[in-house]
């Protein structure tokens, strides 16, 4: 079994060798480490992508807008990921961002996960029939259980989710009421003697 440290070092060197700068290679390496840590096939897909990268043309998107279309070629998931990560504070205000044609979408995933942590909001990544929910770079939730990851994402929608409760107010109140059973009913005597603050605020 390869350690995550080996995975990170080798991914960084391979990324530099394929033509990315050292700084970008460091980002890719962190991403592949993250994918492998979460049990997603990072090394496998990076390997496949790097075999293609010099044979096939991939588009770059330096500035991300609300709605983005690639030209003839699919978008490079690494350059797109770097742009997304770097621009996340601006993108946060868009709420919903669309793209078309991203090659090897799995390689885009770590950048979205890290972006979720930077802005402190969940990010929902939907493409075709698949979705991934990124929770502050702590975990990734997905409906994609297939081992073989799609090689291209055709129609992509990314939503920046406002932090909101996943339960109703009624459900909360019920649970809160139950939690009150751990509290002690205060008698007059306890009110006087057990509180930390003084009894008058005007002394």
């Amino acid at each position: 079994m390869k350690s995550l440290s080996e995975i990170e070092t080798t991914s960084k060197r391979a990324s530099k060798a394929i033509g990315f700068s050292w700084g970008v290679s460091e980002e890719v390496a962190k991403g592949i480490r993250l994918l492998e840590l979460f049990g997603l096939p990072g090394i496998k897909n990076l390997n496949q992508y790097y075999k293609l990268i010099n044979k096939k043309k991939f588009d770059n998107l330096s500035v991300i807008n609300k709605n983005n279309k690639s030209n003839k070629s699919a978008l490079c998931p690494i350059n797109l990921g770097i742009s997304f990560l770097d621009q996340i504070k601006k993108l946060e205000s868009f709420k919903k961002i669309t793209f078309s044609n991203i090659a090897y979408p799995i390689l885009f995933i770590p950048f979205l996960s890290r972006s979720s942590e930077i802005i402190g909001k969940k990010i929902l990544f939907k493409f075709d029939k698949n979705f991934f929910l990124f929770n502050f770079d702590v975990n990734i939730f997905s409906n994609l259980s297939k081992k073989k990851f799609p090689l291209i994402a055709k129609k992509i929608e990314i939503s920046i989710l406002d932090n909101k409760d996943s339960f109703t107010e009624r459900e909360w109140k019920n649970l809160y009421k139950l939690s009150e059973n751990t509290f002690v009913e205060e008698t007059e005597s306890l009110k006087k003697s057990a509180a930390g603050a003084g009894l008058t605020d005007n002394d």
């Binding site: 079994m1 995550l4 060197r13 460091e26 770097d86």
Partner: protein, 551 residues
């Protein structure tokens, strides 16, 4: 009195970092303190008459066990090499997490002796190998087997029976990643398990030499005197492999230096010093003279440094004993200012280390702050501006910005990774091939390039806008935002100049390990000694904390 932390522009210069010495903060000393109340045991010692075979040593506390597994092998003299290109060693070691099962030992017997080409598992924490000091090992075996203790003069010249030539950890060759074990309280300090491995290897060398002597002459042989054992350490040959580490781990580097600087600041701020503490300090300085006079090297460069150090430490000792009054307010501040005025860099840093000795209450809390959660500082704050970045660079890299990298001598060298051994190397850019594959370790040059680029901008941009066209500078942009928060995270010097001495980088790291007797063999590799004078395992429960100055 509020003393300022020392200026990184002075402290982080390579020549200054290359003058650092071990201290109470050093990792091998904090390892001994942490593990002193653990149970030590020799669990297996299955060596043949010649000393080849398997041995297991362990430290245990409650349910936690760390086991050193040793494989001693026969090699021919011509196969013995300290260089990283070697493929055979006298002994190979791994530190196993827990009690190894027979199956584990069999698996490791096939892998550990292969070192870099073997595969370890997440159950192993560190990996190492070592060679005998042939002239010493055989002499000790022969003497003991004849019923006499070895020649102490000869032992003093070398200081160890075995020399390790690499100690690996943190995920290398399949070893456990640091994150798997980082929450264990007992290893909350850098390189603690590497130190454990070296310490247990030291004990193995004593057991092996006694065993071989006994088998050579069962009737007459005696054991190596424990007092002699105590004065032997473990040698280490270190090459360039260590150098990139301190560039690649900026927040960790900062924390090491910051803790040392904070300790010095707090000690200089002490208004009054107890007699007990001032006496302890004086004793350590006095006793330490032996460490300098027994420091052997053939290196002209190091000899000059040692001679100057000895001269200046004696001068300091005379001042301390004849002219200085510890009853004064802020005595350590006064001593420090005297050192700066009167002595060389090597002596200043030597005495600074000794100043830490009496002050456990200052040093011990800092020992716990020497690790770093590096991931937390990896993201670049891309919403900040190029104006911010320019200001950080001009403030934090002011000396580096004065270097002219258009001059050949300032960019004469380059760092690369050798294809044969996957190890760092340092070569002449203009005479050797391969500079197009340079490693990103020329931070000063790249910071200067970034500065020039920023100066040429017509208006301030956000960092994310700047990065769109300047991806090649991303690695140094990240570093500049790190140094903004961590003042000692960057070497404030040129790492690719004609006069760059790579062993200065090694010396810095080794001083934090707790190494003694730096013995440069060239500008790219050196030998050192670890644990010389340290308590033996059976003495750990009650030992003198100033053992370093009594060896």
């Amino acid at each position: 009195m509020n003393i300022k932390l020392r200026d990184p522009n002075i402290i982080m210069k390579l020549s200054r970092l290359g003058s650092f010495h071990q201290s109470k903060l050093s990792f091998l000393r904090s390892f001994l303190n942490e593990f002193k109340d653990w149970d030590y045991n020799r669990d297996l010692f299955d060596l043949n008459k010649k000393g080849y075979g398997t041995a297991v040593y362990s430290f245990k506390k409650k349910n936690r066990v760390y086991s050193l597994i040793c494989f001693a092998n026969k090699i021919n003299d011509h196969e013995r090499s300290d260089r990283v290109i070697a493929t055979k060693w006298d002994a190979a070691f791994t530190l196993h997490d827990g009690i190894p099962k027979k199956k584990d030992i069999e698996r490791l017997r096939n892998e550990v002796p292969k070192q870099e080409v073997g595969r370890l598992s997440y159950k192993e924490l560190t990996l190492s190998r070592a060679n005998k000091s042939v002239r010493i090992f055989e002499h000790v075996v022969q003497s003991l087997s004849n019923g006499v203790q070895p020649n102490l003069n000869l032992l003093d010249k070398v200081g160890y029976l075995y020399r390790t030539t690499a100690v690996y950890g943190s995920g290398k060759f399949g070893l456990a990643d640091r994150f798997r074990i980082k929450n264990r309280e007992e290893i909350n300090g850098p390189f603690r398990l590497e130190m454990m491995l070296v310490y247990l290897v030291r004990q193995f060398t004593f057991d092996q030499v006694n065993h071989v002597a006994k088998n050579r002459n069962p009737k007459k042989a005696i054991k190596l005197d424990p007092h002699i054992c105590k004065n032997l350490g473990i040698g280490n040959s270190t090459g360039l492999g260590m150098a990139p580490f301190i560039v690649n781990h900026p927040t960790l580097l900062n924390n090491w230096i910051f803790c040392r600087e904070t300790a010095l600041k707090k000690i200089r701020e002490l208004k009054k010093v107890d007699k007990k503490d001032s006496n302890l300090f004086k004793n350590c300085v006095r006793n330490s003279i032996k460490n300098i006079t027994s420091w052997n090297t053939d290196s002209e460069y190091q000899l000059q440094k040692i001679n100057l150090l000895l001269h200046d430490v004696r001068k300091f000792l005379t001042f301390l004993e004849k002219k200085f009054d510890f009853q004064k307010d802020y005595p350590f501040n006064e001593l420090y200012l005297w050192l700066e005025k009167e002595t060389c860099d090597e002596c200043i840093e030597y005495i600074v280390s000794i100043m830490l000795e009496p002050f456990d209450e200052i040093v011990q809390p800092l020992v716990k702050k020497m690790s770093s959660d590096e991931e937390k500082y990896f993201n670049i704050p891309t919403d900040r501006t190029t104006k911010d970045l320019l200001s950080i660079i001009e403030k934090k890299y002011s000396n580096i910005l004065t270097i002219n990298f258009k001059k050949k001598e300032n960019q004469k060298k380059f760092w690369f990774i050798s294809k044969n051994k996957e190890e760092p190397r340092f070569a002449d850019r203009f005479e050797e091939q391969g500079s197009e594959l340079e490693q990103p370790l020329a931070i000063a040059r790249d910071i200067k390039k970034l500065h020039e680029k920023l100066l040429s901008l017509r208006k301030s941009l956000t960092i994310n806008e700047f990065l769109i066209d300047n991806s090649d500078l991303r690695h140094v942009i990240r570093r500049a935002f790190i140094v903004e928060k961590f003042p000692y995270s960057e070497i404030q010097d040129n790492t690719i100049g004609e006069n760059t001495i790579p062993i200065d980088m090694l010396r810095l790291k080794l001083s934090f390990f707790g190494a003694l007797k730096f013995d440069p063999k060239s500008d790219k590799w050196l030998r050192i000694c670890m644990f010389q004078g340290a308590p033996l395992p059976n003495e750990l429960k009650n030992f003198d904390d100033q053992w370093v100055y009594k060896s």
